[in-house]
């Protein structure tokens, strides 16, 4: 929990990882390129005081994770969203055994989500059922640009992906976290396009689709589909650290999300270990839309409380102390939630 100016904030970090990118785990040059790309993100967007050495960045381990999140980082609960990346790392990037064991040892603090890949066919479906039982899965993390033999990406509305989403319905895996990446088959199309999420959100209305880094670099397309689908949510992974390096851009992202998606469907995350939660939580509580961006209303304390933890707690049935809870906003299920113009919203829904 974080407390500032007499206000208490329940913090859920909705996207964390326990990765191993050390050289001995790198299968090929792409393993190196991938963690270097992450490290450049980290160096580029972190305050100087929060920049780690490259060695620290390659692997953190469970003790460091617990300290960064729960001792130093104000986090009440965090959710593992592992990326497999088996084509780049011998033992995968996200460390399944270590992370799930940590979650099993601290069930009040950690939830372990796992991943699946629809290109694994029937065998993968069997594996998903086994994983659901082993980990007690409430959610999965999907990286659509995962390399897989000859294929370097898939879409959520591919026929096999439907089979897996149907299995999620059966197994009670309700929260589908989607992370778009640079490759897809065929390469003719925009790999970051979120239209496939629109299709499956319409088809599987009992599942939640949390689009990580709020669709960036396609924020506008994401906002548009989220406006039309009541079960599409915005994950703030990668977007959060802009609060430091690019506060005006961060304000625009938040302004757009609050307008199109609404305060009840935005989830804070540090994307640990890309960044650490402490400075992000502190900065977000202090954050306000700058005066020169008068297109957007000010962000309220209630909205911050929801984004920092209450929204994800609700999605994952995480217990929140009674005095920290808030009611849902009186916003429509579809249409721009932040719209001050009801006519425009009505019109949009019909469009």
């Amino acid at each position: 929990m974080y407390e500032k100016d007499g206000e208490k904030y329940f913090i859920v970090d909705a996207h964390i990882a326990l990765w191993d990118a050390r050289p001995e785990n790198q299968r090929n040059i792409h393993g190196r390129q991938f963690i270097d790309c992450f490290y450049d993100y980290h160096r580029n967007l972190s305050p100087e005081s929060e920049v780690w050495s490259y060695e620290e960045y390659l692997y953190q381990g469970g003790d460091r994770l617990m300290k960064d999140l729960f001792t130093d980082g104000y986090v009440d609960h965090a959710i593992f969203q592992p990326a497999f990346l088996g084509e780049f790392y011998y033992r995968g990037f996200g460390q399944t055994d270590e992370a799930s064991a940590l979650a099993a040892a601290h069930p009040d603090k950690l939830t372990y989500n796992h991943h699946f890949d629809p290109r694994n066919g029937e065998a993968g479906l069997d594996q998903l059922r086994a994983d659901a039982e082993r980990f007690g899965l409430k959610g999965v993390k999907l990286y659509t640009a995962e390399w897989h033999g000859e294929s370097r990406g898939y879409k959520l509305d591919d026929p096999w992906a439907h089979r897996y989403l149907e299995a999620c319905q059966e197994l009670g895996i309700r929260n589908i976290h989607v992370h778009k990446g640079p490759t897809i088959r065929p390469l003719d199309r925009d790999a970051f396009d979120v239209a496939d999420i629109d299709h499956v959100a319409s088809d599987y209305t009992d599942l939640n689709f949390i689009v990580e880094h709020c669709g960036l670099p396609r924020l506008e397309d994401f906002c548009w589909i989220a406006t039309q689908e009541p079960n599409v949510h915005a994950g703030l992974a990668v977007a959060m650290p802009f609060i430091h390096t690019r506060p005006k851009y961060f304000a625009q992202i938040m302004g757009e999300l609050l307008y199109w998606v609404g305060e009840d469907r935005i989830q804070f995350s540090s994307d640990y270990a890309l960044w650490t939660p402490r400075w992000l939580v502190e900065a977000f509580v202090d954050f306000q839309i700058p005066d020169d961006l008068d297109d957007y209303p000010a962000i309220t304390t209630e909205q911050k409380k929801k984004i920092l933890g209450l929204n994800t707690a609700k999605m994952y049935d995480i217990a929140v102390p009674a005095e920290l809870r808030l009611p849902a906003a009186d916003e429509p299920a579809v249409g721009p939630r932040g719209a001050d113009n009801v006519t425009a919203a009505d019109h949009l829904v019909g469009a």
Partner: protein, 245 residues
């Protein structure tokens, strides 16, 4: 202009489709060497994992504009430090085209991809012009923006940028043409104008944000290496400071 500068100027016509900016301005031209009629260019991107289809488009466009110069003989364009560098460089060297380069991963061509981003670039340019108009005249009702014509816009770079995007899409450049139009040149009824502007704004914010992030990442990735031909006077170690917008 000498051949080096001519080649550099030609590369200025190559645009990053996502960011809608020339690769020369973005710092993506790592080096450019001309030897007689031979030209060798190395390109670099902000990460190894920038989308390969866009990377290929920029590299093949770069080769095309250089090959089209009347004096060039052998033109070599190579993309450095990318996860698909080997694939793309081999494809460019063999003039294999998009399908020849990516094989089974390529279905048809990249024309639709390019068109999608030309349309986004137009939408963003349109929003910049209309928002500029709104800010210069606070009394202007938002709903009236659907009636604004090209001749109502001031003669400035924002307007010229819109005209270039319109020209790319084949939209009218006539002074009486409506500014707020869709990709086919159709205007919007008054009720739709505020929402159209709102959507266009999110497109503009997305493109601007991506461009700024990519520039920052490039400088983080290549801290000691200014781009070819035009050293960046604002070049600084980005990891150590806050970038004002």
């Amino acid at each position: 202009m000498n051949r080096h500068d001519e080649a550099y100027a030609a590369l200025g016509a190559v645009v990053d489709p996502e960011l809608d900016e020339p690769i020369t301005d973005l710092g993506f031209v790592r080096s450019l060497v001309t030897t007689g009629g031979d030209v060798e260019v190395h390109l670099r991107l902000p990460t190894s994992f920038c989308a390969p289809n866009f990377a290929y488009l920029m590299a093949s466009d770069a080769k095309d504009v250089l090959t089209n110069l009347h004096w060039t003989e052998e033109v070599v364009v190579e993309l450095d430090d990318h996860h698909d560098s080997d694939i793309i460089n081999a494809g460019l060297a063999a003039a294999a085209g998009y399908r020849g380069t990516f094989g089974h991963e390529a279905e048809d061509d990249l024309d639709d991809l390019r068109l999608t981003f030309r349309r986004k670039a137009h939408t963003a340019a349109m929003e910049r012009c209309l928002t500029q108009l709104l800010r210069s005249d606070r009394a202007l009702p938002e709903a009236s923006l659907g009636e604004v014509r090209l001749h109502d816009l001031p003669d400035n770079e924002t307007t010229r940028a819109l005209l270039r995007r319109r020209s790319t899409l084949g939209l009218s450049l006539g002074p009486d043409a409506l500014v707020m139009v869709d990709h086919h040149g159709h205007g919007y009824p008054p009720d739709d104008v505020p929402m159209t502007l709102r959507r266009a704004r999110s497109t503009r914010i997305s493109i601007d944000g991506n461009a700024h992030f990519c520039r920052g990442l490039l400088r983080t990735r290549y801290p000691a290496e200014p781009s070819a031909a035009l050293p960046d006077p604002a070049f600084v170690q980005l990891a150590t400071l806050t970038i004002p917008d």
